[in-house]
């Protein structure tokens, strides 16, 4: 009887685990093969309630309550739906996906807009709700490994409305699963005006130790009911209410070396383990450049992945936000801050001289003709701003540096504890006597010498 019980338990465990861990086939394969794919309602046959659930996430709303940023209304929601800052200068509202005016030289038009990446069909757009919105979700964009991107292009329907196409083929639906790096990077690498412009990181085995170990984005950004955990990038405000830090996996004492572990109280992991960044570091929305295709883009200065040296600042995970500055708050004394690396980006755009506020821009006019002021005027009409006088100005933004993680090329003692080291201790609030101590080899000499002997 005892044997029989053990066999029964083993059989039960096997039948529970085998389909989930060993089978590569999606359990709904037979159903989809037989019935075809009809969008979210096919998914909902098994994944009930998921469509409605998704409508309440940042990926659908492009906004959320934001509690760690100053000078905003904490009862409102913020995100790419409505924010105005100089990496983008537009948002989903003023720079809604549309057909731009004809280019005077070529007579050609094209579709463009900030919400091009929104996983709906544009008829049910950012933040929409109800049955039509649920039905419009492009589940396969994030979940299929066989998505045909020729189908995800905007077009005008018979009513003249701009619709974003979707691949709802059975073939794509049969290849569903957890999102891979590609599913995420389709949108996230193209933000800010081109490939790897905004955040300036590539996630692959050459550039990130996690990718080299075969990890995908959602291994760290593990979704909970479609809510995706995010870090505390000072410029990435919208969040699903779940935060993510390195220590969640690595703990606060990740090193074998106690001296290194002693650093983690005041030095963020990223500071040593993300020594470089990349992407755009300056942009001018007041001067658009004509491209080969005769359309215009804002003039942009950019570097490749790992070509920009970050700046280091104390950061207590709250954010200073003024028309000319978005960046970390914190200091050495507050007991909450750590030193973090940031990519400093500076963007030039038009401000309202009468209020000092940054103005948003609709890209359609300048993209067609290069007339940036027409873009601001169009956005002002959309937002109902009538009283304005344009004045160009610069805004400085600190972008969090949270990818391009390295173990082998991490900063070592002498990279920081040297008179010309990467940390500017004076700017970080240390006095001369402390700096003298902090930049002396006395701190690490014996340790590195011992290591050097061992290596040889």
């Amino acid at each position: 009887m005892k044997k029989l019980t053990i066999i029964f338990i083993c059989f039960g465990l096997l039948t529970f685990f085998i389909p989930q861990t060993w089978s590569k086939d999606h359990p709904g394969k037979t159903y989809i093969e037989a019935k075809g794919y009809e969008g979210p309602k096919t998914c909902e046959v098994c994944h009930q309630g998921k469509a409605k659930e998704f409508l309440n996430t940042v990926h659908w709303k492009h906004a959320s309550p934001v509690t760690n940023v100053e000078n905003i209304d904490h009862k409102e929601e913020y995100g790419m739906k409505n924010r105005i800052y100089t990496m983008c200068n537009g948002n989903d509202i003023v720079n809604n996906l549309k057909e731009i005016p004809k280019n005077p030289q070529t007579g050609k038009v094209k579709f463009t807009g900030c919400n091009t990446c929104h996983p709906g069909n544009h008829l049910s757009d950012v933040g929409s709700s109800g049955p039509a919105a649920e039905e419009a979700i492009d589940c396969l964009l994030c979940h299929s490994q066989a998505y045909d991107f020729r189908k995800r292009v905007p077009y005008k329907d018979e009513k003249g409305q701009v619709v974003m196409g979707q691949d709802r083929s059975t073939n794509a639906a049969l290849a569903v699963g957890r999102p891979t790096v590609k599913n995420c990077m389709v949108c996230h690498e193209a933000a800010g005006g081109g490939v790897l412009i905004k955040r300036g990181f590539a996630y692959n085995k050459e550039t990130d130790v996690h990718a080299a170990k075969g990890m995908v984005c959602v291994d760290c950004h593990q979704a909970q009911n479609h809510r995706i955990p995010t870090g505390f990038d000072p410029n990435n405000w919208a969040n699903d209410g779940i935060r993510l830090v390195c220590a969640d996996c690595h703990t606060e004492k990740p090193h074998k070396d106690g001296d290194l572990n002693a650093h983690t109280a005041r030095i963020a992991c990223q500071t040593c383990h993300i020594p470089k960044t990349g992407g755009a570091y300056a942009k001018d929305f007041t001067a658009w450049e004509q491209g080969n295709d005769k359309f215009y883009e804002p003039a942009t200065l950019k570097k490749e992945v790992n070509e920009i040296t970050p700046v280091y600042r104390w950061y207590n995970l709250t954010v200073a936000n003024t028309p000319h500055f978005i960046g970390p708050k914190g200091n050495r004394e507050d007991g909450k801050s750590k030193i973090y690396p940031f990519k400093v980006f500076q963007g030039k755009a038009f401000y309202n001289k009468k209020t000092g506020e940054l103005m948003a821009m609709d890209f359609a006019p300048p993209m067609a003709t290069g007339d940036a002021r027409a873009g601001v005027a169009q956005a002002a009409r959309t937002l109902g701003i009538k009283d304005f006088e344009l004045e160009a100005g610069w805004q400085t933004i600190y972008f969090g540096s949270n990818h391009l993680v390295t173990k082998t090329d991490a900063l070592s003692c002498y990279n920081c504890h040297a008179p010309n080291g990467v940390l500017n201790f004076r700017e970080l609030g240390y006095n001369e006597k402390e700096i003298e101590k902090l930049t002396s080899p006395e701190l690490y000499f014996e340790k590195i010498l011992k290591k050097q002997r061992e290596e040889w």
Partner: protein, 103 residues
């Protein structure tokens, strides 16, 4: 310059240019994809880029990330591309192949 000197300079220039290309000097083009052909084994592709002046360059793409973008049509004919390439054994091997567009 006398003729032998001219000839010497010319030969030196030719050798220099050949060596420069053979050494894999990086060249650049921004152009529209006019033709895109993926090899049957999926391990390489040929893309013809045409720049604003009508100059066409045939690029061989071998990096996995870009090939994957060809396979699922994230990059298609008609897209404008910023490309860096090296000439290796007569082939223009892509080192950087990115769409110019973003959002």
């Amino acid at each position: 310059m006398n003729s032998p000197l001219k000839l010497t300079v010319l030969i030196t220039l030719i050798i220099f240019l050949y060596a420069f290309q053979a050494a894999g000097a990086e060249l650049k083009i921004i152009g529209i994809i006019t033709k895109l052909e993926l090899a049957p084994d999926g391990k390489s592709a040929i893309a013809v880029l045409k720049d604003n002046n009508g100059k066409e360059v045939t690029i061989t793409v071998v990096d996995e990330l870009t090939l994957d973008k060809f396979k699922d049509h994230r990059i298609v004919e008609g897209d404008e591309i910023r490309c860096k390439y090296e000439v290796i054994e007569g082939k223009n091997i892509s080192r950087y192949f990115r769409k110019t567009a973003g959002c």
